[in-house]
Symmetry: D3
Subunit: 191 residues, 6 copies
């Protein structure tokens, strides 16, 4: 069950020339910030209007105002993607989290078995909830929500935790279901 | 593991008076069309900006132009939500699909065990892919994508199938993780 | 993995003319009461003697004297069949429970995720036990039995709860293993 | 998670003196044939009428006329009970199968991992179907039924295979859910 | 999925004449003690140097000094092999445990469902830990280790429990992955 | 479920002064080669004789003559440990494989989802077998062995593949069951 290695994904993508200006505009910021265009912005361009709308939502969720720090949101991204064994998202969000924390050891702990990660109790509760939501959402109960309040999260924060965990259950399925390959640059980023 | 029955969800929601105008605007269309405000637009209002952006994306994905009919997109919604045992989404999207198809039997077949549903081979392939994406995305292969092409879906269509299936993996987790209750109106709608 | 739709099941059945009188006698009561012969009484007729003996046991278990109401026994039927994703039994017993309770909302809650059903604590304990028996019987312990006593069930009642749950683990396997189709009349019954 | 060892099961049973004559009559034959009363006939006596009706069905299914030999029916009993890890039924039906076949090695192979059992291809197909029915009935397809026909089973035989497999999914749940202990005599029987 | 029955395993083994003296030396002791050469010492001889080194470790672990009796170590062997459904190891270690305890009933209880085994609380804790280590090692926590201390095991003993459980996770995979057949003598040994 | 972070594992270890000379001798080689003593040689020292014998076997299996290269053996170590979510072994063997291959990208691919790894077909077959052996050994068949022969592995090689995969099913359980922490040096090694 090998993945074709010379292609960005299993779907045939429009050529770069055929991509609408709106898509190319999305490329500018990461190109400047990272030095490359994340493959998600290429493979998702097969449906440009969806890409724009998804990206607007994703960007606000991950980088907009929130009771969670950006690093905490990326921690959720890593543990959810690890639970789902999503290659693209583990690789790209581990890179993002290394950049935000400067702590590659923490990232590898989260990526392999979060019980070994040195995180605050408040963060551990957040991550345990994200994993339960991922693996067995239909068994979640009000007690799970209460446990988050007890360590200090507000109800707005809990909504954000759930949304971020849910978001990577979205992206993980696109990436794994369509064979997305991460940019090679991610592997070394932030080490 | 009972769910509190007098509340819309496990989080404490802002009072209706505190909700921003942008949220209330979202309520107008369904209120006119259905006669009630879907609870998702109330419980998600704890984070108004997220709601707006998610809704813009969701609306285009489910109701915008696509190689999939609206009914086919709702069929995916039902089988994914059934695989995840998400009460809110099974109930609300079964109602939507009954309205679109006028076929409550088909909807109940999809809801209980899709193998018994009378659907076209092209639709069956679409639904089988949506379930595999939901249950074991990390085992998806290029052959799964090829199987969709063989029954006549274009690469753009396959992207839409994957996105819709992924979307309900997002909403199912919010709904089940935060104890959302569907409006009682849904149960009888379209019968 | 579609199911052939023009046939009652995957086995070749004897023609109606070849069915023994004893089988036809079983048809009389439901025909009068429901207006149709439940397909189980047709597909099981491939082995008439087994059908008679199974039916005698089933009928006493589900409708005979018991500390459980008939509705409670049908509630177990619905949640066990939902756990096993048995199309035939979910559809037919949801209909039966709608008729007994006049509450289609309750039935759909039980069918999709029983945590959302508005039931008495005594009934919830009964249903949780039925699901555990279905999904992981080898992990049941005396504490599970004790929990049923604590909410007020007698030992005879607990035997009945276990028997009814076990019965649908029997019928679910026949129905799903042999591709039984429910009568279309069931879908609308009791709504 | 130890099981109380001095009691036949977790429920409080009626005293022997309180058992109706009909129950005691069921004891006569095994007492004569085996030299002891199988515990199932004691623990099930908490509901005498159910016991009588279940026993009449069970007896015909396991010992009445069929295209399956009695040994083949007991082989299904052993592999289904092993799949469900049901202590009572593995122990008692392994004894029964040893008596019928005089082959304790075959029985232990079936009990531990049926792939290692020396059985006819026709029997292997029968046992593989019984296990699939037990472990994932909702994934059974018409092809599974066709595979049984191809090795020579008639449709009536296939019904019997399914019924016997389903029967032990019934008894396994009663036994494991209520903590039934097998008679110690079973362990040495037929060796 | 039948196993070829006339061969010791799926690999082609060197002829007896080609086996090095070091391998044959390992055969002497069991030949004298049991009257036959355990098949493991034949099938593992495809890699003689590995066999010698594995055997030296295995022998010390299972028969050397320890806070666990030899019977306790064989109890772990049986429950781990049962959890992994390893035919070779269940059969051969059940025989060993019957010889050590003279209690075939206990062995069959451990083999089918350890909750029914009459063992000391200290041994039950040991066996529950061995099963958790086998089935979901990544969910083990310090509380699991603490539970073993509380019933009286020292830290050295706990290391031995973990090592013995881990050892059968090693041998089970070799045996099941390469189709090893146990000597027929094992089935009757110690009864 | 956090892991205590200041300790090497959950067991109380003998002080360095109390460790026998034989253990310390094992430390010399890695200390020279890596610049530190791998924690496995400290935590396993609670049972010095077991450590010596295990290490002798392990060393020959992983570094002795074989039809598999050292890198191929470490590739198996990484994918088995990833399947078992064993933090200690993923971290330490990813480091070893980075050193052997100089290819940190390959290692991260194997660690997250081996389908995305750029490996030879012969190696892919080897890794798929190692994962099947790990996750569902009781479902392995002779066809799995045949598939390895077809891509060019000899029977001796197949024995080595199975042994190495089995070995990490051993070490993963010790490490995860007893809370072993990897040396921090491993995280950066070979990048």
């Amino acid at each position: 069950m090998a993945i074709e290695t010379d292609r960005l994904c299993w779907l045939n993508l429009p050529s770069e020339g055929d991509m609408p200006a709106a898509v190319k505009e999305l490329w500018a910021k990461p190109l400047e910030k990272l030095g490359f265009v994340p493959n998600v912005l290429r493979v998702y361009a097969i449906r440009p209007r969806h890409l724009e709308l998804w990206n607007a939502f994703y960007d606000d969720l991950m980088r907009g105002e929130s009771g969670l720090t950006k690093a905490q949101r990326e921690m959720i991204a890593v543990v959810v993607s690890a639970a789902n064994r999503c290659h693209y998202c583990i690789v790209s969000h581990s890179a993002a989290l290394r950049k935000l924390t400067g702590d590659p050891i923490l990232v590898e702990q989260l990526q392999t078995n979060l019980a070994y990660a040195k995180v605050e109790p408040k963060e551990r509760a957040m991550l345990d909830f994200a994993v339960k939501l991922t693996e067995q959402s239909h068994r979640c109960t009000e007690a799970d929500v209460e446990a988050l309040r007890e360590v200090g999260w507000t109800d707005e924060d809990i909504m954000d935790i759930a949304e971020v965990a849910a978001m990577f259950n979205f992206t993980n399925r696109l990436a794994s279901g369509l064979g997305w390959r991460p940019n090679e640059e991610y592997f070394a980023l932030g080490r």
